[in-house]
């Protein structure tokens, strides 16, 4: 159903801040022929009187989409969305063009000149708005149990919380009784035996609950589905796969501690690890006498030392309470968190626990029966006497144990091996309801009590989801759509998706078309720009809209102007911040804001050149740590790189396109970047408008649409879990040359197609036309004919006459 598009344009004077710099009446004049229904200029559209005036206009004119030429969309859009909601204007129908920060405040040019730039930016926005697709979000059911996987202790708290609220859950755990779990507690939580009593109570409640099913852990074969309908495949000992279904998932993963290496200290059984000690505690045969906990291992960092000191303190407390014949002392470096509070000190004194801080600069010395250390209080060397010396353990790499599970989850190891859920840096409205919860010490060293809190929090999140579903508010936002006819099931999108929004497919299902879990999708759009078959479309943020915008803008730009793409984070923010800080930069740059540079389809870049733009600049977040979509900016880099290669293949200057990186708080860098890029482009003539160049650019554009090229671009960036990425220059030259080869071939193919579309040609004529040696063309032509993409239509001068179409 196609309805008439009725777009309203509102321009803001911003109390003179815009109107004094930009000739707004002229902007209106310039936009008269643009696709708009209503155009008005207001002093402050954002203030209540302005919103009232806009609402009136919307109703009187029957407007269904809006473009506001004012200031930052990041800051102001919500205000308009909320203010105009009573007039039926949903947020996605509002587009903002930043006249203040991208035009008025940053250029010193005459108002008429700025009016032209403003009109170009607005025309782009209008073109994009015209392709807007209204949609209705659908609400989702939320039934079935919660699946608690990973085997971490916190899962039991989640289960208890869920059971108390009447929700079923299935826990996959290593041990099948509370006692077994407690016996092994110190493998993951050293020093937490103190809390065994509390934990036992908790575990018993869980095991006794009719709403909780405890199953034994098994390797994860697959995890597919989405909110309200997750399916988890578990490989059974007999090789079969059991499928569990659930509404949501809680991943509870704990980090294990390895026993410290104490062999080199010597001393036989008198020197032991904390694990040994805790094993003894489980068995109940601890050696009586003076026990010294020696907290050391500075090379593992303060956090580990803190943890060890705390564990030692707690074990001492446990020993003092339950085994009075043991006299514990904790010797810890003065830089860690002990002692805690006055109350703790009193407790320690009451139990006769020694707490001795040592100055970390001077290493304590272990002797037979003694440990000497320097006290920071008096700088004097002191000694403690021991019968047993206990050395705390060290954390192990949490990710290595969970590879099979992590493959299916948007959980990645960060620096240092700890695990973290991926999307954490979006606007809340971009983050769909969390349906996959992650708890446990694998996310960061923490003690049992913290982990239990995390488990509770996860359960609470899940219950909120259920509550939302009950009220019909659990809606699928419909962000990304996969065209099932175009999708070939290659799975590249799944590989690169940072948020897990594109579904996994069960192993061995063959080329199955992908679907999306819009509940996890954050709408970054890298997948759409990467898809070799262009089967993915981000709703109301589509490549088609961007194309239209680029075309509309270029048609209003001069031949010296440059197109700029900024990502919605570092790029956009720093560009706007430049205005806030009163910086200026050349007027030639015409900025388009996108979610992430990774969402820019490679063909957009070529399209811009095809439409005659002189140059392109892209500004995104600093790669590897700042990109909000993990590797979006890296994907973009490969596309820019390909574009450069293609430009040079076509005999054009590589430097017509450039990419740079800025952080939100680096407006100066942004301004310098623009200046520098535009300065470089000033040396170049405008893009030639002759037929030959156009034909070449057409071919480049066609090349960017070729699945093979897109596949190579998409796979150039491998999944981030792979160790060799990023930074390693391994095989860099070879890989780049491979890409160049592919581009060259595909570029040639594109040119061949272009030539053959006009008329059938034989290889020598084709060679002359494309200025390529025949011997380069012949194998390509033969391959294409073999693939059936071109056909031999006859013979001419002993050469085959190739033409488009099938034989």
């Amino acid at each position: 159903m196609k309805t008439e598009v009725r777009t309203g344009v509102f321009l803001c004077e911003c109390g003179g801040k815009i109107s004094s710099r930009v000739d707004l009446p002229q902007v209106c004049e310039l936009l008269r022929d643009a696709p708009q229904t209503h155009l008005a200029v207001y002093p402050h559209p954002c203030l209540t009187p302005g919103l009232e005036a806009m609402k009136r206009d919307i109703q009187e004119q029957g407007l269904d989409r809006l473009l506001i030429g004012g200031c930052s969309t990041r800051v102001m859009k919500k205000r308009f969305a909320l203010g105009l909601a009573p007039a039926g204007m949903e947020k996605y129908r509002i587009e903002m063009v930043n006249l203040k920060d991208h035009v008025a405040a940053v250029h010193d040019d005459p108002p008429a000149e700025l009016a032209r730039k403003a009109a170009a930016l607005i025309a782009g926005g209008l073109a994009s708005l015209a392709l807007l697709e209204p949609y209705e979000p659908t609400s989702l059911p939320f039934e079935g149990p919660a699946l608690i996987v990973g085997g971490g202790v916190s899962g039991f708290v989640s289960a208890r919380e869920l059971a108390r609220q009447g929700m079923e859950s299935i826990i996959l755990a290593k041990a099948s009784t509370p006692e077994r779990i407690l016996d092994n507690l110190h493998r993951t939580f050293p020093g937490c035996r103190l809390f065994c009593g509390d934990l036992r109570e908790l575990l018993r409640e869980v095991f006794a609950s009719p709403l909780v099913t405890v199953k034994s852990e098994a390797p994860v074969e697959y995890l597919v589905g989405g909110v309200g309908d997750y399916r988890l495949g578990l490989r059974q000992p007999d090789g079969s796969v059991e499928e569990l279904t659930g509404a949501a998932i809680i991943v509870a993963l704990d980090q294990e501690f390895a026993p410290a290496d104490v062999a080199h200290i010597g001393g036989g059984r008198r020197v032991c690890t904390m694990q040994d000690l805790e094993d003894c505690l489980v068995e109940g045969n601890v050696q009586p006498g003076r026990m010294v906990f020696y907290v050391n291992s500075p090379q593992h960092g303060q956090e580990v030392q803190d943890f060890s000191a705390m564990a030692a303190w707690r074990d001492s407390l446990l020993l003092a309470r339950e085994t009075p014949q043991v006299k514990p002392t904790v010797v810890y470096p003065a830089n860690v968190r002990l002692p805690l509070s006055g109350a703790d000190l009193m407790e320690a004194r009451a139990h006769g626990i020694g707490l001795q801080a040592y100055a970390p600069e001077v290493h304590p010395v272990v002797q037979s029966g003694y440990l000497s250390f320097v006290s920071p209080g008096d700088n004097l060397e002191h000694e403690v006497e021991w019968d047993t010396l206990v050395i705390p353990g060290l954390p192990t790499d949490p990710s290595s144990r969970s590879q099979d599970l992590l493959r299916w989850l948007p959980i990645y190891p960060e620096n240092g091996g700890r695990l973290a859920k991926s999307h954490i840096k979006f606007w809340p409205e971009q983050i769909p309801d969390e349906s996959l919860f992650f708890t446990g010490s694998a996310g960061g060293i923490c003690d049992l009590n913290e982990v239990l809190q995390q488990g509770k929090k996860a359960a609470r999140g899940l219950l909120n989801l259920r509550e939302k579903a009950k009220q019909g508010r659990l809606v699928s936002p419909v962000v990304v759509h996969v065209d099932q006819d175009l999708c070939e099931g290659c799975g590249l999108c799944t590989e690169i998706c940072p948020c897990g929004g594109i579904e996994h497919v069960k192993p061995g299902s063959g080329p199955v078309a992908r679907e999306t879990d819009n509940h996890l999708c954050s709408g970054g759009g890298t997948c759409a720009a990467t898809c070799p078959y262009e089967a993915i479309k981000v709703l109301n943020n589509s490549a088609q809209q961007l194309e239209a915008r680029v075309k509309a803008m270029i048609s209003r730009m001069t031949e010296h102007d440059v197109l700029g793409f900024v990502c919605g984070w570092g790029g956009l923010a720093s560009s706007e911040q430049a205005a806030v800080k009163g910086l200026t930069y050349p007027r030639g740059i015409h900025l388009i804001a996108v979610n992430c540079l990774g969402s820019i389809d490679p063909s957009i870049l070529s399209l811009a050149f095809l439409n005659g733009v002189k140059g392109i600049m892209l500004a995104g977040c600093t790669p590897t740590h700042s990109c909000h979509y993990h590797y979006g900016v890296d994907h973009c880099w490969y596309r820019v790189n390909a574009m450069k290669k293609l430009l040079s293949l076509a005999g054009l200057e590589r430097r017509r396109i450039g990419i740079g990186y800025v952080e939100v708080n680096e407006p100066e860098s942004f301004a310098r970047m623009v200046e520098s890029h535009l300065e470089a482009l000033e040396q170049l003539p405008p893009l030639p408008q002759d037929d030959l160049t156009t034909t070449k650019l057409w071919a480049i554009h066609a090349t960017m649409h070729r699945p093979r090229v897109r596949w190579v671009l998409g796979t150039s960036l491998r999944r981030p879990t792979e160790k060799e990425f990023p930074g390693s220059q391994f095989n860099a030259v070879d890989a780049d040359e491979t890409m160049l080869e592919v581009l060259k071939e595909e570029y040639t193919v594109s040119r061949i197609f272009k030539a053959l579309t006009d008329q059938p040609l034989n290889p020598p004529d084709l060679g002359r036309m494309l200025a390529e040696p025949v011997k380069h063309l012949t194998p390509i032509l033969m391959d294409l004919a073999k693939e059936g993409r071109i056909a031999i239509r006859g013979w001419e001068k002993g050469y085959p006459l190739y033409a488009m179409g099938k034989a």
Partner: protein, 190 residues
């Protein structure tokens, strides 16, 4: 619609509009610091004070929050109003001499640094709360918050750790009228 006057000029507004809304719409200048259209008015800086005659009562109110009423007489430039504004400018300028926004604004008030000016202070936060409010109201998270109170009041991230909630969207920077947020930002993200 209610009708009232600002500096003698008859103006109109709706019941829930503020004096500042109407003044801005009519192009009558009123200085502000903690006001930003993206967030709810907060009423902290008090720069936007105006004098209002309402019946027999005359009082100083802040125009960013005072709802318009039928028949009130608003004056934006009386000696009382000037005294409040000048003092606020004076106090701010002495507190954070590095703020460029302030220096600009202070010129129009003919306010110069006094003997109480803090020497060697480059930090320029006025605690207008725009960053906190933008983070909360616009972005929808609370990566920033006020901490402490009174003279010790400051903008901080919870538990004084680099905030995990921060999405580095930079909205706080955009709304900040001074350099304060820029100086804080690096600290927050650490």
């Amino acid at each position: 619609m209610v009708t009232f006057t600002i500096n003698g000029k008859e103006v109109q507004g709706q019941k829930d509009w503020t004096i500042l809304d109407v003044a801005r719409w009519e192009g009558i200048p009123i200085p502000t610091l903690c006001h930003h259209p993206a967030v709810e008015p907060y009423g902290a800086c008090r720069l936007c004070v105006v004098e209002v005659d309402e019946g027999r009562r005359t009082r100083i109110v802040i125009s960013c929050m005072y709802p318009v009423k039928e028949g009130i007489k608003v004056r934006t430039d009386t000696p009382r109003v000037q005294n409040v504004r000048r003092w606020i400018m004076q106090l701010l300028l002495d507190e954070s001499p590095a703020s460029s926004y302030l220096k600009e604004l202070a010129k129009s008030f003919d306010v110069k640094p006094s003997r109480f000016q803090k020497a060697g202070v480059s930090f320029a936060c006025h605690l207008c709360g725009l960053c906190v409010r933008a983070c909360q109201e616009v972005v929808g998270i609370q990566a920033l918050t006020f901490s402490n109170r009174g003279l010790k009041k400051e903008i901080a991230s919870p538990l004084q750790m680099g905030s995990k909630d921060c999405i580095s969207c930079g909205n706080c920077l955009y709304v900040c009228p001074s350099l304060g947020m820029e100086q804080l930002y690096a600290r927050m993200r650490a």
